[in-house]
Structure formats: structure tokens, C-alpha cells
């Protein structure tokens, strides 16, 4: 019989994560982590935003980059979906358009890791999506 994931597994994961969190001495307050927001309105979802978000969550974890990936609404750039907003610690947010898994990989490798800019940035002049 195959094993079914249960809440007991979650307890194990919890202790595991707690150990890791203590190792990093709680230096990772949300402000010190990369914040990524994936535009997840009808337009984004229809263009594949869910796949991009799945990819980002998995890859950032695999590449050991501490980041918070969340969802947000539509910014009005429906033509450029899927769009994501990336905020490196202490920097202004940058919005990337036409993001697929390949583009997301480049964003992680170039912008998130090294701060190098790349094609596909949507010029914006607001502080963040909610502030628009």
C-alpha cells in the first residue's frame, strides 16, 4: 500500500524547518529576503502565472535563495502577462513582463543573484502594486 502524506509528516517538516531557521539565527526577517509577487488575476492566470509561481517557489528553494513568493492582483499590464514584481532587499521593485519558466530562470540567475538587469522590464513609476 502506498503511503499517504499526513499531518504527522508536517510535524517532522516543522522541526526540520525550525532547526534551519535557528541556524540562520533569525537573520532572515522578510525585509532581508527577496520579495517576489506574481500577478495572479484572470489575465495572469490565463497566461500561465500559476506555472511561473510554481517554478519560482521550487527553484528558489532548490538554489537556496531565501525569498518570499506571493500572489497579487492585476497591474493593468494584461498584454504583458505573466508579470512578476521583484524586490531585492533595500531596492526599488522591478516589474518583469512576459515571464515564462525560461525567463524566470534568467531573472533568478541574473537579477536576483547578481543584480544585473535584463530585457523585459516594464517601466513603472509607482512604489508598489498596491500603491498604484
Amino acid at each position: 500500500m502506498t503511503k499517504i502524506t499526513s499531518l504527522a509528516d508536517l510535524r517532522r517538516i516543522k522541526s526540520d524547518v525550525e532547526v534551519k531557521m535557528n541556524l540562520r539565527e533569525r537573520s532572515e526577517s522578510p525585509e532581508s529576503m527577496v520579495q517576489i509577487r506574481v500577478a495572479m488575476a484572470t489575465c495572469g492566470i490565463a497566461s500561465g502565472a500559476k506555472i511561473v509561481m510554481d517554478y519560482l517557489v521550487n527553484e528558489l528553494d532548490k538554489r537556496s535563495i531565501p525569498a518570499v513568493v506571493t500572489q497579487t492582483g492585476c497591474m493593468g499590464y494584461c498584454y504583458a502577462e505573466p508579470t512578476i514584481e521583484v524586490t531585492r532587499p533595500g531596492q526599488q521593485p522591478i516589474v518583469f513582463g512576459y515571464v515564462d519558466s525560461k525567463k524566470a530562470d534568467q531573472i533568478i540567475e541574473k537579477y536576483i543573484k547578481n543584480g544585473e538587469l535584463l530585457d523585459g522590464i516594464i517601466p513603472v513609476n509607482y512604489e508598489n502594486i498596491e500603491g498604484k
Partner: protein
Amino acid sequence: MKDLALHILDILQNSVTAGAKLVQLGIEEIPSADKYIVTITDDGKGMSEEMVQQVTDPFFTTRTTRKVGLGLPLLKQNAERTGGSLIIDSKPGEGTKVTAVFSYSHIDRLPTGDIPGILALTASSYAEIDFIYKHHTPEGIFSFDTTEIKETLEGVPINNPQVITFMKDFIRDNLAEIKAS
């Protein structure tokens, strides 16, 4: 939308935007009555009767960033395509309930899609909101409740990647157990 899960992901966002604290998703598979019913219930700010009339109009939206709102119209279209319907009950200040009824056996009923994925991603994005998911099939009932998850986590953030993976596996395994379609 390519599958039902993406529609649900979309409608869950409406509940979040409406300021809900608790969002409940229900899926009932009743092959004997040829029904596949999806309900999304929230305790958000609700809508006036007039607004309920308007929301399935593609040219109605509460957003200011664009002029169209396609989430509910597309779901309505997909439900009606199978001979089903979309029903919206809402009261200002109390919340909203969206019910999409599909014909179970209809060839145009959308594939279910990645329900575990969309729930894990939504629950982790909105840690302050609780999500309850109940899935009924003739084989049994599965329920998933983020309050339970958060209690077990005792302060470990729900948006931790390992926790997200756990939620996906947990939902997927249990859905398979009740033979969800």
C-alpha cells in the same frame, strides 16, 4: 482557462480582494445525479443585489487598472457549456457564495487541473486568511483546513517552501484516496 483549478485560483482572488478572513472551497462529485458542483464561500464585504447582476458582465469590474473583468464570466461560460449554471449569492457585509454547477459526464467539463497546487500557493500567499477545502466523492470526503496546518506549524511560516510542498502532497494523496476525478 485551461482547467477548473485555474478558475478556482481566479475566483479565490476575488474573495481575498473582498477582504475575507475565511474562504471555503467545496467540490462535490455526484455522478449518480450527473453533477459536479464547485462552491466558493467567503466572509468578505459582499455585494449589493445590483452588483451581483453586473458581475457576470465581462465589461464590469471593480478595478481601476483596466476596463474588463473576465473571471466570473469565463467560469459562467464554462459551466453553461456543460449544461450547468453559475449562481451567485451575496449580501453586503456578510459575504459571497459562488456556485458553479457542471454536468459530470459532459465532454466539455474542464479537466480538474492542479487543485493541490493552487490551494498550496494561495494559502501560502495569504497567510492571514484561512482556507477550508472539502471534497466529496462517492468514495468519501476529504477536508483540508489551514487553521489545522497553522496549529501544527506552531509559528513556522506557512509560506516556507517545504511546507508548500507538504500541502501539495497532502492534498494530492488524499484526493487520490477518495478517487477524485
